[in-house]
Structure formats: C-alpha cells, structure tokens
Subunit: 110 residues, 2 copies
DNA sequence: AAAGTTTATCGTAATATTGCAATATAAATA
DNA sequence: TATTTATATTGCAATATTACGATAAACTTT
C-alpha cells in the first residue's frame, strides 16, 4: 500500500517517526552537517555543496523544515536556513531511553 | 525516481541514513519500545501487541534487524528478538555532534 | 524597466515502501 | 505421523519517495 497506519500508534510514536524519517536520507544528513559546519545563516550555497540538482535540494530542505529539524527565513533573494534545536530535543529523549535501557538491560540471550 | 544517490555521499552519511530510516516508522518505534519494556528475549507476542497483520510485523522486524537495531536468534519455534545496542551506538555520535553544536552555536538569526 | 540571481513549485518518471492474503517453513506436541 | 503453533516468504495493490527539467516567483543589479 505504501500508506502508514498512523491511527494505530501514539502521537509521540508518530512524531518521532517523522523526525527520524526526515534524517533518514544521506542528502539531508549532508545538509544538516553542512549547516553545522558553516555555523552561519548565509547558507545560499547549500546547492553548490550538494551533488544534486537545485530542485532536489530545495525539496530536501522543505522536508527538513516540515519535520522541524531546520528553520529558515527569507532574506532578500536568499534563504537563511539553520538547525532548529527544538526538533532535535524531541528525538533526544528517545535515545536517552534507549541508552538507559541498554545500561540496565538484564537479558543477554541474543 | 525513488532511488537514492548513495554514491555521492560518504559511507558514514549513508550508514546513518539507513539507521534513521529504519527508526522512521511508528510501527518500528513501537516494536523497539516494546522490546525495551519486556526486557526479555521471549518476545513471541510482538505480533499480538501490534495493530498490524503478522506478515507486516515480520517485515518490520526484518528491516530493524537488517539495519542492525535489533538482533535475534531462533529458539525452538519462537524467535527471540532484542535491542542491538551496537546499532544505536552508531547514531549516538551524530546526536552528540548536534548537541555540541547547538550549545556552542554562534548565529541566531532564524 | 530589463537582465541576472536565487529559491520554490509543478509535472513527471522511476523506484521504494507499506500492508496484507496466501502460502511456506520449522519446530513442538498430541 | 498428523496437528498445532509461530514466524518467514511470496506476490500483489496502493501509496510514497526521489530526482530532475521546466517554469514561476521574488528580489537585486544594471
């Protein structure tokens, strides 16, 4: 079908899935890494840094923004994108949960 | 196209993308949470806990296993699945990197 | 105003994902 | 050995994703 049955899962599970899914593409990871590297909002050359066509990069940026992992403002004829820490905060607790679990894990059969 | 241009990205970026993508589905998050909750390898009732048909759950388990997020052994006529901490270790450093960045972030225009 | 620059959107093709019914496989048990 | 139980695989339909050319939109510069 290709359609995810979100109705059957909790809001948190769906929210986390959206965030993880957004990270789940090498181009989007490369974009996030680039935004961290330059540490500035004059990011007009993201397209030049990517091995993808401009419309494709634009689409990936849109997805990152929709997921809440980056934020951006219009600045003249350039767009200013940067990391949105709020999005990452939401994922953090999930990984802390995993971390916590693995430290106290009792079973060891696998 | 639907095909990801993995060739143009680094091995790390692709590896991380695979892991994040595997987490990027509510059913797979629910499975991971369940495995943590029960903290045992007698996990034969994952299917009963999920609002999905048995073949669908089996497929999601397979994807989690392929990504290295869970591991499993055959135990009689039941399968023993549990969290594979190695997979999560690989993601951890990426989030630490993000965390580190947001703490020292200089720009604040967005 | 015209031309240039930069990013977004539209349309489309190719491939991937999701989900399930049907069936297969494999071990446990009667 | 036949039946039951539990998981995996196959095959398929519906939808989603990825990528890009063409074009639009919006601002800058000449």
């Amino acid at each position: 079908m290709g359609i995810t049955k979100t109705d059957h899962f909790t809001g948190k599970q769906n929210e986390l899935a959206v965030l993880a899914k957004a990270i789940g593409h090498p181009a989007r990871i490369a974009i996030l890494e680039y935004l961290m590297k330059v540490d500035t909002c004059i990011c007009g050359d993201i397209v030049n840094e990517m091995p993808l066509a401009q419309p494709t990069v634009s689409q990936h940026l849109k997805e990152l923004k929709n997921a809440g992992l980056i934020k951006g403002n219009i600045e003249g004829n350039a767009i200013c994108y940067c990391i949105n820490e709020e999005g990452f905060e939401k994922i953090k607790s999930f990984f802390q949960q995993i971390d916590n679990y693995t430290k106290n894990k009792k079973n060891d059969c696998c």
